[in-house]
Amino acid sequence: MSSAVDPRALTESLPPRPRTAWRGLVGDPMGIAGLVLVGAFVLMAVFAPVLAPYDPITLDIPNKFHAPSLSHWLGTDQLGRDLLSRIIWGARIALGIALTATGVAGIIGLLLGLVAGFGPRWLDSLLVLIFDSFSSLPMIMFALAIITVVGPGIQTLILIIVLVSFSGYARLIRAQTLSLKSADYILAERTLGASNARIILRHLLPNVVGPLVILLSMDIPVVIMLEAGLSYLNLGVRPPTPSWGNILYDGYTSLRSAPYMVIAAGAPLVLCTIGFTFLGEGLRDALDPKMQVRVRR
C-alpha cells in the first residue's frame, strides 16, 4: 500500500506572501499623508505643555492684537494671549474630546452590536428598536436640548457625541456579527467545542473590528468639526479654555482688525480633518482585500 502521505506534496511551493495592511497603508500616498498629519496633531496634543511657548490662558492685555512676529509666531488675540500656544492647547482639547467621544461610542456600539448579533432573538429585536430610536433623533436639536438641560461644557459635548453616534456603530457591528455568526469557520469552532466567549473574543471580534476602526477614524473629523461648531456658538467648550472653535469665534468678531486669527484657527481644523479622513480612507483600502489589486497596480 502506498503511504497516504505523498512526499511530493511536501515540496509543493507556497505562494509568495501577500502584502500586509500596514504595507498597504504606507504604500498609498494618501495613507502616508493621513498618517503624517494625524501623527503631527497627536504629538502636538501630547506635548502641548512643552511645545507651547506661552501660557494659553494668562491675560496680557497690553500686548493685544499683536500681528505675527518672532516673539508671537501667530500673533496674539484680543486679550493678548499667544495664538500659537492656544492653537497647540486647542489640539489637546479637540483630539481629547474627539478620541474620547468616538472611543466611548465605539466601545458601547461594539458591545451592544455583539450582544444584538449573537444574543437571543428577542434581545436583538429590543436592541434594534433602541438603535433605530437613537439614530432617528435630529442631531442639532438633540444637542441643543441636552445643552439646555445639562449646561455647556466638555462632558456635555462628549455625552452628546456618544448618544448620537453609538447606534451607527452598533448597527454596523450587529450586521457584521449576524453575517459571520453562520460563517463556516464559526460553526467549525463550535464543533470543536469552543465556548461562546472564545468564539466572540477570538473569532468574531478580530473580524468585525476592522470596519469599525475605519468608520471611527472617518467619524473623528466630523466630531472635531462638531466640537468647533458648538464652541463657536458658545455652546461647547467654555472660555477661557482654548478650543479651535472659540479661537475661530474670537477671530471672527475681530476679523477687520486681526484677520490672521481666523486663518490661524481655521488651518489646523482643516488639516486635522483632512488627516483623519485620509487615514480612514487609507485604512479602508489597506484592510479591504478586494482593493489590493487597485492599490498594487
Binding site: 502521505v5 505523498d6 512526499p7 429585536s125 463556516d184 460553526l187 470543536l192 467545542g193
Partner: protein, 339 residues
C-alpha cells in the same frame, strides 16, 4: 452491540422568515419541516455514506448530529449517552469532528494555520509541550510542510486547506468524523490523495466516518454502508456494494443510473429521472418521490410508504421495495471492459 452514533426517528424543523419586532413577542413563529423520521446507526470503525441532491437535508442532518441545529423530535445517542441538551453536546465535542465543504471558509481568517491546528488542544485544555512542535507534527502527519504553520488560510491552495482541516479534525483523536463533500472543488488527480489520507487515518485510528457527498463514484469506493436522503426522508439504507448492485428504491436506482459515464460505449439513450427535486415548501403528498418516479402508481400519490426491511441491515421506504428491480437502461452493459 451498541452503535457509536444512534439516531431514532430524528426530526428537524427550522423557523422560517424574519419576524422583525414580532420577535419581541413570546411564542414560536412559522416553521418548516426539513428532516423527519430519520433512523440510522453508525457503528464503530465504519464509514457511512450520506447521499442526496441539494435540498435533501444532508447538511442539516450533519448539523443536527453535532447540536449546531436543534432537533425538534426523536432521540440521538452517542456511545449510549443521550444527546438532548446543549450540555450533552458539549460532552460530545472531543469525540467528534466535522470537516466542512469549503475548507478555506471553515478556517478562522485572522489566525495562522499553526494556531488553528493546535486550537483543539487549547479549547479542551489538553496539555502539549509546545504548540509549535505539535503544529509541525500534525502538519507532517497530513503531508504538509512545517512552513505552512505561519501562513493564513487564504494563502493556501484548496488541497492544502483540506489537509489542514483533516489534521485539525483528527488532532484530538475523535471517534466520529463527519466529512461534508470531502472532495468538492478538488481535481480528479488530487481527490484520491484526500480520500486515501482519510482511509489511512481511519485504518490506523479505528475511527468512524460519515461521508456526505453527491459524488456516487466516491461514495461507492470509500463507504461501507450508504444512506440515501430525499426531501428530508431516508429512502434507502444498506450495504454499499449491495445497494449499488441492486438498489431497492427507484430514487436510488435513478441516482446511480444518472451518473455520467466516462466510457462512451456505456452512453445511455433514455433518461433515468425527470424533473427537479420539489421544494420543501411544497412537499408532495404520499411518497415525496412520486412526482419523478417512473414506477409510481395510485397508492404512491396518497399513502406515504413505510420502511420495508429487505435484509436485517438493508431498508427501503417504497411500496415496491420488496419486488423492485431497476428498469434496465440501454447503457448498462455489465461486461467488464478490457483495460
Amino acid at each position: 452491540m451498541t452503535a457509536l452514533f444512534d439516531m431514532d426517528r430524528l426530526r428537524v424543523d427550522l423557523p422560517v422568515g424574519s419576524r422583525g419586532l414580532l420577535g419581541l413577542l413570546p411564542g414560536a413563529g412559522a416553521t418548516l419541516n426539513i428532516l423527519s423520521d430519520i433512523t440510522l446507526q453508525i457503528d464503530a470503525g465504519e464509514t457511512l455514506g450520506l447521499v442526496g441532491e441539494s435540498g435533501s437535508g444532508k447538511t442539516t442532518l450533519a448539523r443536527a448530529m453535532l447540536g449546531l441545529t436543534r432537533a425538534t423530535g426523536g432521540a440521538m445517542r452517542f456511545d449510549g449517552t443521550p444527546l438532548k441538551s446543549p450540555r450533552s453536546f458539549a460532552g460530545l465535542r472531543r469525540d467528534t469532528a466535522m470537516m466542512f465543504q469549503d475548507p478555506v471558509a471553515s478556517l478562522s481568517p485572522r489566525m495562522t494555520i499553526g494556531a488553528l491546528i493546535t486550537e483543539p488542544f487549547v479549547i479542551h485544555r489538553v496539555k502539549i509541550a509546545s504548540r509549535r512542535a505539535k503544529a509541525i507534527e500534525l502538519l507532517e502527519s497530513v503531508g504538509l510542510p512545517a512552513a505552512i504553520a505561519s501562513r493564513y488560510p487564504h494563502e493556501l491552495s484548496g488541497g492544502q486547506a483540506r489537509r489542514v482541516c483533516v489534521a485539525r479534525a483528527l488532532a484530538l483523536n475523535p471517534r466520529l468524523v463527519i466529512a461534508d463533500e470531502p472532495t468538492a472543488g478538488l481535481d480528479v488527480s488530487v481527490q484520491g490523495e484526500v480520500l486515501n489520507l482519510m482511509s489511512d487515518l481511519k485504518a490506523r485510528l479505528g475511527l468512524s466516518f460519515l461521508v456526505i457527498s453527491h459524488n456516487l463514484a466516491v461514495i461507492r469506493h470509500v463507504t461501507d454502508r450508504i444512506a440515501i436522503l430525499y426531501l428530508g426522508r431516508l429512502v434507502e439504507i444498506g450495504p454499499t456494494e449491495q445497494v449499488f448492485a441492486a438498489p431497492r428504491h427507484p430514487y436510488t436506482a435513478s441516482l446511480i443510473a444518472s451518473e455520467p459515464q466516462p466510457d462512451p460505449r456505456k452512453r445511455r439513450a433514455d433518461l433515468a429521472i425527470k424533473g427537479d427535486i420539489p421544494s420543501v415548501l411544497h412537499r408532495p403528498p404520499g411518497c415525496a418521490f412520486h412526482t419523478r418516479c417512473i414506477h409510481a402508481f395510485d397508492r404512491c400519490r396518497t399513502e406515504a410508504p413505510a420502511r420495508t426491511d429487505i435484509a436485517p441491515d438493508w431498508h427501503a421506504r417504497c411500496h415496491l421495495a420488496s419486488e423492485f428491480t431497476p428498469k434496465p437502461t440501454s447503457r448498462r452493459d455489465h461486461h467488464a471492459m478490457e483495460n
